[in-house]
């Protein structure tokens, strides 16, 4: 609907029955951002994958704190309900952008939104509480419940990535929680933490928000990147290139991610002398990520690549992620950012990075672990149709979107036809909208494949992909307690494919040394 409005301003939207007004447009943009980042990406990638995979991969019966875990799920459910409720309260849901900058968000009269925005803050706060509980679980479980022989440097990379994401989340969310409390007080008790007329400072919120906001990007990104690493190694039939170095690279990226937050604020009234230090740290963050990308490519080099649907999604995700990565350099460079800040270039950039990881990486993970979850295989043919459709339509949507940004089109405008220099871009907007509808429709085969395969899919064996990590040593789906008998002990690193001098092509982590050859 957002796209429709951009392509055909002020016209009736099919299935919705009327054109949307600018205030509704703002609300849709806000809710889209919030829902996607906090209520799709994080639960799906961090929580769902973490809860399912961590115990299976480290050889544990359950998470370290099962009750805390249940609580986190319920709090998340309540948070989602609160957010949904905000659509139905008087004066509509939050409309201050997903970043919720005050003063726009701090006083009712500026947006006209009443309780919708309070509910929005409340939903975020609950969601943070939920992930605090989850994050503690994701950290303590792999540290304390690893099976015998599973040393830290034998953990599958995705477990490392989820741990990294949890650390980043736990250490970055605090200031924003404090900020959210202040914002609620501003809205409801008339305080002025973020209002200049009362002695406060609007920029304070931006700092508190982005101090969390940038690490948050990696919270979403790392688990999906971890899934891609697992899959690329498995289907290249090849050990991962530079296992330890990848872990170190992620640590460096994690540390740097705490030092880059102000790159979202280059032109926000930030002290301009701060811009260059932040610009340098921002661009330097490309080095560890380049390292990870090169390591993935090196992993594929000389492999014996088995092109299954999860592999296609992982490779496609890597390809798009490179694209999103290189466009990040433009944004990171402070002078270029003067021009492209708050344009569609930024929108296209973060969709490229996040779409590639959240959706392509997420789909790769789903196709890969589906047999383990449901005991049946997904259909390969429809999986590949889904991949190619998604990949091509994605490029058709987001590559031209960069050009819109170069053309100077601002984000979050409800009606591009009101500006002369943006009006020229209208045909491009129409094209993107058509492609976006295509992107949506091409998800249909996935939905049918996902639901249908539960009943008619081929029965999956314990280890349909000949993979080496521990989760493939238990029946699919795993019974209660994860292993029917004793938990296997671990004797080797996670990605032992085509080891020289060994006749088997792959060696599961649980294979004892003596039985190897």
């Amino acid at each position: 609907m957002i796209r429709w409005q951009l392509a055909y301003p002020e016209t009736e939207i099919p299935l919705f029955g009327r054109p949307i007004g600018p205030d509704e447009y703002n609300a849709f943009v806000t809710m889209h951002g919030t829902i996607m980042v906090f209520f799709v990406a994080m639960p799906l990638l961090v929580a769902a994958m973490g809860n399912f995979l961590i115990p299976l991969m480290i050889g544990a019966r359950d998470m370290a704190f099962p009750r805390l875990n249940m609580m986190s799920v319920w709090v998340l459910a309540v948070a989602s309900l609160v957010l949904l409720a905000s659509f139905f309260v008087e004066a509509g849901p939050a409309a201050a952008g997903w970043t919720g900058y005050p003063p726009l968000s701090a006083r009712i009269e500026y947006t006209g939104v009443e309780y919708g925005l309070d509910l929005w803050i409340l939903a975020l706060a609950l969601e943070f509480a939920s992930f605090l509980m989850g994050g503690i679980n994701f950290l303590v479980t792999p540290i304390n419940l690893r099976t015998r022989g599973m040393s830290l440097f034998r953990l599958p990379l995705i477990v490392w990535m989820i741990m990294g994401a949890s650390i980043l989340f736990l250490l970055s969310v605090g200031p924003l929680i404090a900020g959210a409390v202040f914002l609620l007080l501003d809205r409801n008790l008339g305080t002025s933490f973020f209002l200049a007329e009362g002695g406060g400072d609007p920029l304070l919120w931006q700092h508190l928000f982005w101090f969390f906001g940038h690490p948050e990007v990696y919270v979403i990104l790392l688990p999906a990147a971890g899934a891609m690493m697992e899959i690329i190694s498995t289907f290249s039939r090849k050990t991962i290139f530079g296992y330890k170095s990848i872990i170190y690279a992620v640590m460096i990226a994690g540390v740097l991610s705490f030092l880059v937050w102000a790159h979202h604020q280059f032109i926000s009234g930030l002290d301009p002398r701060l811009a260059m230090p932040f610009s340098i740290t921002t661009i330097l963050i490309s080095v560890p990520f380049a390292f990870i990308i090169f390591s993935m490519l090196a992993t594929m080099w000389g492999g014996s690549i088995w092109l299954t649907t999860p592999m296609w999604f992982a490779v496609g995700g890597l390809s798009v992620f490179i694209f999103g990565g290189v466009t990040g350099i433009f944004n990171g460079s402070a002078p270029v950012d003067i021009y492209i800040h708050d344009t569609y270039f930024v929108v296209a950039h973060f969709h490229s990075t996040l779409f590639s990881t959240v959706f392509l990486g997420g789909f790769a993970a789903l196709y890969y672990w589906y047999p383990k979850m449901f005991g049946r295989m997904m259909n390969e043919f429809w999986g590949k149709v889904h991949f190619w459709g998604t990949y091509i339509f994605f490029l058709l949507v987001f590559v031209p979107m960069h050009l819109l940004g170069v053309g100077g089109m601002m984000r979050r405008i409800a009606d591009p036809s009101k500006y002369e220099f943006v009006k020229e871009l209208l045909p491009m907007n129409e094209f993107i909208t058509v492609a976006a509808i295509g992107l949506l429709l091409i998800q249909a085969p996935f939905v049918f494949n996902f639901l249908g395969s539960m009943f008619v899919g081929k029965k999956a064996s314990e280890n349909p992909w000949d993979a080496t990590t521990l989760e493939w040593t238990t029946p699919s789906p795993p019974p209660h307690g994860n292993w029917p008998g004793a938990i296997p002990a671990v004797h080797r690193p996670p990605y032992e494919y085509a080891v020289p001098g060994v006749s088997e092509e792959w060696l599961p982590q649980s294979r004892p040394e003596g039985a190897a050859s």
Binding site: L171, D201, L204, H207, F258, A262, L270, D271, R273, L274
Partner: protein, 93 residues
Amino acid sequence: MAAGEAHGPSNVIIWVYLVVLAILSVFVSSVFPAPADTIAVFALAIAKAVLVLLYFMHLRVEKIFIHSLFFIPLLLVVVLYVGLMPDIMRSMY
């Protein structure tokens, strides 16, 4: 902790220290001149916090890993402070 208890000063002694420091800080803030009192009061507050952390929260006998769980966030708070300072202090605008 059992080992720490045997060797270190007892909890009562730490409690007496804390009480003395608290009273001292109130006294200092009312007697010392303007800039000195703030510095002294915060030095005393840090001393109190360190006592609680070391003895009551057993950091004295904990592993480096637990230490890092406390001091890395503190370091980040300092980073946040330094990053915000030029802006909120409006040194430029």
